[in-house]
Amino acid sequence: MKRRHFIKTSMGAGVATSAAIAFGNIDVLFAGSPAPADLPYDLVAVRNGEPDVMFDKAIQSLGGMETFVKPGQKVVIKPNIGWDVSPERAGNTNPLLIKRIVEHCNNAGAKEVYVFDNTCDEWTKCYKSSQIEELAKEAGAKVVPRNSESYYREVDIPKGVRLKKAKVHELILDSDVFINVPVLKHHSSADLSIAMKNLMGVVWDRMYWHRNDLHQCIADYCTYRKPDLNVIDAYRVMMKNGPRGVSVDDVVTYKTLIVSTDIVAADAAAARVFGSAPEDIAYIEKAAALGVGTFDLSNLNINRIKL
């Protein structure tokens, strides 16, 4: 299995590299992930399965994790671990999903897989209650602290409208592959917290965003570095009282998963699952206007998998 993986990946890598060189798309080479055009689908949506099974199906239909992770690469996985609540409360990304993604990365030959989030509640408690620390470690990931400003480095965001600079966690800056794994949930001020909103957890000073037009800052950040892959957990969905939630009664089990390299499309599809129109979510529209991605799902090649 491993050898076949290796051959497949090296071939894939070779193809991707030559394609990148041929088309002069140096960004692709740098980011280590294929251009969306190389993928069989723009977006994969799965429903009616367990979190890990749905991810197996989704990543398989995109050519396996080898498409995104090359042997020897460093991968950072960014779940939402914002709150000191149990998985049933759906305030954090499903820990089983994170575990399975880590396993796929390791099978694809990743040198190292890191998991972290800049939490809202006290971080050691969040890491524990979410069960993400435990399961990610079980799968061989390094679960990394986030609590000190010294882990963050300042970067320029030239295309940002309101957000021109941000202090970003060193792992986001130094890793080869960046996988964004948010949970879909209601959010009292941003309407919905999905993939773009999840990136608030890679910067140090979130409060700057709140003070300076939250929706615009969310969109602005995505012009800096888009994740190589977005995996949206909509297995359990917090329908109200988000983003922290008050009780399990806020949660509906949708058993859905959305995977895309286009962060705007991923958010648009997740918004639809929630029952909202993507164009009603201000940051989705603002991000599309900045050219981050598209929220018009009708033009996308979507793989819909029902289990």
């Binding site: 429903r47 602290p145 000190s148 001020s189 929706h215 922290r244 008050v246 009780s247 639809r272 819909r304």
Partner: protein, 505 residues
């Protein structure tokens, strides 16, 4: 060993010990256990009675074997004598005026419901302050250096931890006391214990009646002075072959030092010479009754506008009427009347929201901790401060009860809020609220603005901490007496998910 364990309690940030173990370790601490007994009448808090009985039997063994400040002084002495030739001790007359005045004042103001002198002088609490304010930053520094080194090798078993806030008053006081003790130790050994410490003075009175005590055997002793020069309490008068056992800290060094077995630790034969003592001889039960009746009459003064902040363009300053006390502390009166500011809760709090105060409780509550929502907020799922508090100032509280204990109430100042001033969405306050007492409601256009439902607010400070404006647009004003909040209304979402449905896109 005991000393290291004790120090660790006050520097640890990982909750390495369960509260039960911590309570066990602190069982024998005289003042905390006495105050906790007054507060709870619980059998679990009779450590001070055990210490009292021990003293009546063997003298002040507490001072050498149980008191962390005593042990700290011994450690300092050992360190000092490593660098310098060992200083010899010499018999000194007691400084009874200072000694019993301090004890007297301590007891009198305690009867009037103030623990100020215990707060400032109780040896356990002083040790706590010194550990928490001086040793803890040092420990964090060592840990962070370790974490940094390991981090270079991609090992994350240690993580960096920061002093989120620092009380200079508390630091200054701890440093001052530490300096004083260092100097006293060098000059006269355990002079602190025999002149300043109210616990030492009190147990000293009890030691006058001890069954076993140190004495010089007149038939054997040749007044060679060796025992006296080894006595860190400087209470052995070798010339007259007398031992002032009220000042003996029970280290028993004299027994081993004596070359001719002239120092005896045995049942006293002669009746103790009772010096004329003032009537401060303490009886716990009587004290309890007096105290209980007088506590109610304790007068509180609270500094009101300690939080006034810089202002610009029509913004409104935050004025807190009452300081916020930890869950389980019942009321400002109860808390300030029982807390000796040992700062164990300051060290144990995982979010570091508990910080030493300056004058938030007035002069009498100096250095007693409060919840500082600039530093962080009170974690919803946590009761650690109430679990570790050794004096009962913060009484044990169940998690479910804690989640409904209203420490204060959030107040919204619209004029400072981003939604009002900039007409942009924010909602950081509502995001963090664990009960959704702070909720976003439609304001104008598509904008949403915070609204507080007082009944379900527990005053945890998450909203205040998260608020990005200066001055804050939302803040918690403390309840001088904690109240019970209502449970948040919980309605089950009625959404049928049909697996046969198609994707909505």
């Amino acid at each position: 060993m005991f000393f290291l364990l004790f120090s660790f309690l006050f520097v640890d940030f990982t909750s390495a010990f369960s509260p039960k173990i911590i309570n066990g370790i602190l069982f024998f601490q005289f003042v905390p256990s006495f105050l906790k007994f007054i507060n709870t009448l619980a059998v679990i808090s009779i450590g001070f009675i055990v210490v009292f009985v021990l003293t009546l039997l063997f003298g002040r063994v507490y001072c050498s074997f149980l008191c962390p400040l005593g042990t700290l002084q011994d450690v300092l002495w050992n360190l000092a004598s490593r660098f310098k030739k060992r200083k010899r001790f010499k018999f000194q007359p007691p400084r009874n005026l200072i000694r019993y005045s301090i004890l007297g004042i301590t007891i009198i103001i305690l009867l009037f419901g103030s623990v100020l002198f215990l707060n400032l002088l109780d040896p356990y609490s002083l040790f706590g302050k010194i550990s928490s304010n001086l040793f803890r930053p040092l420990w964090y520094f060592i840990n962070n250096t370790g974490a940094w080194v390991l981090g270079k090798f991609e090992n994350y078993s240690l993580y960096r931890v920061e002093m989120k806030s620092y009380s200079w008053a508390s630091f200054g006081y701890s440093l001052g006391v530490f300096g004083l003790i260092l100097w006293l130790v060098y000059k006269h050994g355990r002079l602190y214990c025999n002149t300043v410490c109210p616990v030492g003075a009190f147990l000293g009175l009890a030691a006058k009646f001890s069954l076993f005590r140190i004495r010089l055997d007149e038939t054997v002793c040749n007044s060679c002075g060796i025992c006296g020069s080894n006595c860190k309490a400087e209470c052995i008068d070798t010339k007259n072959k007398k031992v002032d056992f009220s000042r003996c800290v029970g280290c028993l060094n004299c027994l081993t030092a004596c070359p001719s077995s002239g120092v005896k630790f045995s049942v006293s034969r002669s009746k103790p010479v009772v010096e004329k003592t003032n009537s401060m001889d303490e009886n716990p039960r009587r004290n309890f009754l007096k105290n209980a009746t007088l506590v109610a009459g304790g007068v509180m003064t609270v500094a009101g506008d300690a939080f006034a902040e810089g202002l610009s363009d029509g913004k409104i300053p935050v004025k807190k009427e009452y300081t916020i006390i930890p869950p389980g502390a019942l009321s400002i009166d109860h808390f300030t009347n029982s807390c000796t500011a040992c700062h164990l809760c300051v060290s144990a709090c995982p979010t570091h929201v508990i910080q030493p105060s300056l004058f938030q409780y007035g002069l009498k509550g100096m250095l007693q901790p409060y919840l500082d929502y600039h530093t962080h907020f009170c974690n919803f799922e946590c009761t650690i401060c109430s679990d570790v508090c050794p004096t009962g100032a913060i009484l044990p509280i169940g998690l479910e009860e804690k989640k409904l204990t209203q420490l204060g109430i959030s107040k919204f100042i619209k004029e400072n809020c981003v939604v009002y001033t900039d007409e942009k969405d924010c909602g950081a306050c509502s995001e963090h609220c664990p009960t959704k007492a702070v909720n976003m409601v439609f304001y104008k256009n598509d904008l949403k603005i915070p609204e507080v439902t007082k009944e379900i607010c527990i005053g945890c400070g998450a909203c205040e901490y998260a608020c990005p404006t200066t001055p804050k647009s939302i803040y918690v004003d403390g309840n001088p007496i904690h109240k019970l909040a209502e449970k948040p209304k919980i309605e089950k979402i009625e959404t049928e998910v049909n697996p046969e449905d198609d994707f909505p896109f």
